[in-house]
Symmetry: C2
Subunit: 125 residues, 2 copies
């Protein structure tokens, strides 16, 4: 296959390939950004990203994006953009599958280091 | 609603709000990129983007991304990244709903101007 003909990515295949929570996997790259897949279950840590805006697209199940002043529920086929500098926390009562779009090398816990939740950031599927 | 709490976007609502083909509508913005929704039906024009990589995510229906040396079929829940500089053409035998992710101000026909197909590029929903 020549380099000019990229392969397609099947999201359901990617989600089937892992079962851990809160550890985004890179599944696509473009223009210095990455497409990641992640499973949410439970409650993440409050954090902000100094420079990076972050998009969360619901794929399966429902999750919440909590801000200090309100909470937004996101389901399949819905997305939210969290602007840089805005403190937020994600949470899901039952497992949710989520597609993330953000600049390459964005750290999942932003300005916070959490022994359990900070992910390597370079896992690929 | 404070500026810190962004609204969510419901993709099905956006797709219900228009019926024209090949005219992407901006539905989200982050880090100098745009999320667009578009309906494909028929065959687009061959073109390339000098600098911009472009992501096509299938939402409803099936479409093709044709390259000079092969064709890739894309359905719901599947995406493809077309690297900058690579000539391509999209096509759909029946209407397909597609989410695009690409740098802001990317022209839909890239290096080509087509009286029928080149879209304004600044339509929002």
């Amino acid at each position: 296959m020549p380099a000019t003909a990229p392969a397609k990515v099947v999201l359901s295949d990617k989600f089937e390939a892992f079962s851990d929570h809160w550890r985004p996997k890179i599944v696509g790259e473009l223009n210095g950004h990455e497409v990641k897949v992640v499973k949410f279950e439970g409650t993440f840590v409050w954090h902000a990203h100094e420079r990076e805006d972050e998009l969360f697209l619901g794929w399966r199940g429902r999750f919440r994006v909590e801000f200090r002043d309100r909470t937004i529920e996101v389901g399949p086929g819905e997305f939210i953009v969290v602007p840089h500098g805005v403190e937020h926390r994600t949470a899901a009562d039952e497992e949710a599958e989520v597609v993330i779009f953000e600049p390459a090398r964005t750290r999942n816990t932003g300005d916070v280091t959490d022994a359990r939740l900070t992910a390597p950031g370079d896992e690929r599927l």
